[in-house]
Amino acid sequence: MLWYIGRRLLQVIPVFLGATLLLYGLVFLRPGDPVAALGGERGLSPAAELAIREAYHLDQPFLMQYLYFLKGVFTFDMGVTFTGRPVVEVIAQAFPVTFQLALMAIVIETVFGIGFGLWAGVRKGKLFDSTVLLWSLVLISVPTFVIGFVMQAVVGVQLGWLPITAGRDPDFISLLMPAIVLATTSFAYILRLTRTSVVENITADFVRTARAKGLPRDKVMSRHVLRNSLIPVVTFIGIDLGNLMAGSIVTEGIFNINGVGGTLYQAIIRGENVTVVSLATVLVIVYIFANLLVDVFYAVLDPRIRYA
């Protein structure tokens, strides 16, 4: 197992190099001139423009710029953004809050998704099952920003139950509404995945055998049905952690959370290569680790899966 994990960790190196080169190339190919945009309609004086280009190595060819970036990564000095803030500081500020938000969303969607899914699967075809199926379909089809704005207007502004925006140094309470909004779509998917899996497994041979042995219903459910039904769900959650961290741009915007999504969006608009690629690199690493965790989890859930 340890050998397996070590090998997987070594894979990070080529993935890191490939992903950053690709990302850097994509941002480099973005049309428009970020330095020209800094001047607005009035434009910068040529000398000022040149000074800025040199400071950010934008006068260098693509490969040189990329090598500067790599050098920055290994010396933990990735330079500064157009506003003069160290990129390392931007990363250190953006990730914790996004991570907290993503984690809260994962917990919410997992607990409710699996709970509702299990109940619906067991009572297949009954009223609860069809209601839940219908509502999950609604949640999947309504865009996140609609749910976000509606919840903000009703729960935040009109009822005043939860803070309208998260603001600076958000605590658990002020992140609760954003986390619920962020979790809605994935909650619906987890619910449906769990339900389908449970429906399938409940009629499987090993469940019938367990029942025939006279095992109590609770035990059958938790040890046999649920455990076997969780494999596709765990795969989904693992990928979702990465999605939630990178894809919370909309939710972060609505609730004014100063996290990865918003920072990344602004950096892309401004054409700040180094910031974009640095943030994306951290996301790539998060993805790799989340997938590793999922693979390790498989072995726990299904003893037949073994890694040598």
Binding site: G32, R42, L44, R53, R85, F149
Partner: protein, 563 residues
């Protein structure tokens, strides 16, 4: 991330009502400044993250500009109507509009205790002008003698970007600046500029303390300042806290307990916070609330004209718009735009049809320039002119008129409306060329005839200081060919008219002459005036005395809030 010149501004209301509003507001502020009814509450304001260090000459976008204005005091400041008053200056005088003697008042102090001296101005201006320092406001020192020597000669690559220096700068300081004493300095300009004192309230002209030059990079994070407020903390992308400057004794004395600028990335969110009472002053009403905000906010709704102006530039390099036939086509295109209808239906009345090339909030604006009949919708006359032009100089059968714009803001709707007007009224083909971001349009435009822009393009402009000159010179003079004269308009007559106005002996005379210069623009139509923007903003019930200035920025020092 809004560079000051990039217009994201949105609607407002009728002109008359706003004039009343600003007039009574002005009276209030005078009383406040002398009274001792200062409140102690901390006012919260929606803002974006400043894109530059908090230094006047480094800041060229509104987010940072608003904060910098509270932190620093310059020679003069603008009241709500854009009228200039002395702040640090004792007097700004000139006999010929070219050599200016500036004396400053005694007793001003920086927040580190050092006195504000004439040298603080001269050094700051020299530093900002010197090319290699890369100050974004360097261009503002262009009128001062010796500016070219501080810039050197740049080299350009084939794409028109600066690739290096052909000649390094030969001087580190402007030869036109001279310190006479601790409280006096002289400024010599390259040519007479009658509106020079008006410009001095812009943030690029703010002074800097000696401490600045110790570490220019670190200073902007924790500046030593001389304005109504001092910086308490700057939490990036999140919040900027200012507290009143106890040592400040000028005319902009803070009437509240401090300012909290809260960074929002979504205007809908700040609007929700305003309604929920978490925010006191909202700088921009979101598009989604444009039709409801006056009802939602009641007394807290603010709507008045702003200093921003929009036009369609007709580039000089297009053959079909040259010569006599070209002029007729320009006039036809202008007359075929139904400005009233577009501002009503697309912008819900929050923009005002333009009748000149400047803005109604600027001192000297009349809106009655001879030749501005072309800004009145007249489909028949337009069609007649267009057909006449076609007889003189026929267009190919497959001719398509294009209008280029960036589509990441709210431009698509009105460009399509203008195009539809051309299709219906002039019976021509018209298409929009969309670019995803603003800098891509800039890029293509700056290439001139070599770029991909082979049609009309959108131009937005808002003034940095309340002067008619600030609209005309930077956009249509030959001197601005390297700057923002993107349509490459060249007219000796217009340049001469600007020069005469710059040499005028009084402001009224200058304004009259600038309006004369506008007549030439209407004769040549290098651009087609579209509309003026408005300030649409709001405030909560917790604050009083909220006034927005000519530049669409709130006058934060006079806002009161009880705890």
């Amino acid at each position: 991330m809004t560079p000051r010149k990039r217009l994201v501004g949105l609607g407002a209301f009728a002109l008359a009502s706003s004039l009343v509003l600003t007039a009574c507001g002005g009276g209030n502020s005078g009383d406040e400044a002398t009274g001792d009814g200062a409140s102690t509450g901390i006012v919260t304001i929606s803002n974006g993250e400043p894109q530059n260090p908090l230094v006047g000459s480094m800041t060229n976008e509104t987010e940072g500009g608003l904060v910098v204005q509270q932190l620093y005091s310059g020679l003069v400041y603008y009241d709500a109507e854009g009228v200039v008053h002395n702040e640090i200056a004792e007097s700004i005088e000139s006999d010929d509009n070219q050599t200016w003697n500036i004396t400053i008042q005694d007793g001003w102090e920086w927040s580190d205790g050092t006195p504000v001296t004439a040298a603080n101005f001269v050094d700051a201006w020299n530093w900002a002008a010197y090319g290699p320092n890369g100050a974004k406001g360097a261009g503002f020192f262009d009128p001062i003698e010796g500016f070219a020597e501080t810039q050197g000669v740049p080299e350009f690559d084939e794409e028109g970007n600066v690739s290096g220096m052909a000649e390094e700068p030969t001087a580190e300081t402007l030869s036109g600046l001279e310190v006479v004493s601790d409280t006096e300095f002289t400024v010599t300009l390259g040519q007479p500029e009658s509106d020079f004192p008006i410009r001095l309230g812009y943030s690029a002209y703010f002074p800097l303390p000696d401490a600045y030059y110790d570490d220019t990079a670190a200073f902007g994070e924790k500046p030593v300042t001389n304005g109504p407020y001092v910086l308490e903390s700057w939490e990036h992308e999140s919040e900027i806290k200012l507290v009143p400057n106890e040592a400040y004794n000028g005319p902009r004395k803070a009437q509240n307990g401090g300012l909290d600028f809260i960074v929002y990335t979504d205007e809908n969110t700040s609007y929700a916070d305003l309604q929920g009472g978490n925010l006191d002053i909202l700088e921009n009403v979101p598009t989604s609330a444009m039709s409801t905000f006056e009802e939602d906010l009641g007394d807290g709704a603010i709507s008045e004209p702003s200093a921003s102006f929009a036009a369609l530039t007709v580039p000089e390099w297009l053959p079909e718009f040259q010569g006599d036939a070209g002029l007729k086509r320009r006039q036809a295109l202008s007359m075929a735009i139904n400005r009233e209808q577009i501002t009503e239906t697309i912008f819900a009345g929050t923009r005002i049809p333009a009748t000149d090339f400047t803005s109604p909030v600027i001192n000297g604006w009349t809106g009655e320039i001879p030749g501005n009949e072309v800004t009145t919708y007249n489909a028949e006359e337009a069609k007649k002119l267009w057909d006449e032009a076609n007889e003189e100089d026929p267009l190919p059968d497959d001719y398509v008129l294009t209008i280029s714009t960036n589509t990441d803001s709210d431009h698509q709707a009105w460009v399509e409306a203008v195009c539809n007007g051309y299709i219906n009224d002039l019976d021509i083909n018209c298409e929009m060329t969309g670019y995803p971001t603003f800098d891509e349009v800039l890029n293509e435009r700056d290439k001139g005839p070599d770029g991909k822009v082979d049609g009309l393009f959108r131009a937005g402009w808002s003034a940095d200081y309340p002067s008619l000159q600030n609209y005309l010179g930077p956009l249509y003079s030959k001197a601005a060919l390297a700057g923002s004269n993107d349509g490459r308009y060249e007219s000796d007559e217009f340049d001469a008219a600007l020069k005469t106005a710059a040499a005028a002996t009084s402001l009224d005379e200058a304004n009259e002459l600038y309006n004369k210069a506008q007549e030439i623009l209407f004769k040549d139509l290098p651009g087609i005036p579209l509309w003026y923007y408005s300030t649409t903003a709001g405030h909560s019930e917790n604050v009083d005395n909220v006034e927005f200035g000519w530049d669409s920025m709130p006058l934060l020092y006079e806002v009161t809030k009880s705890e």
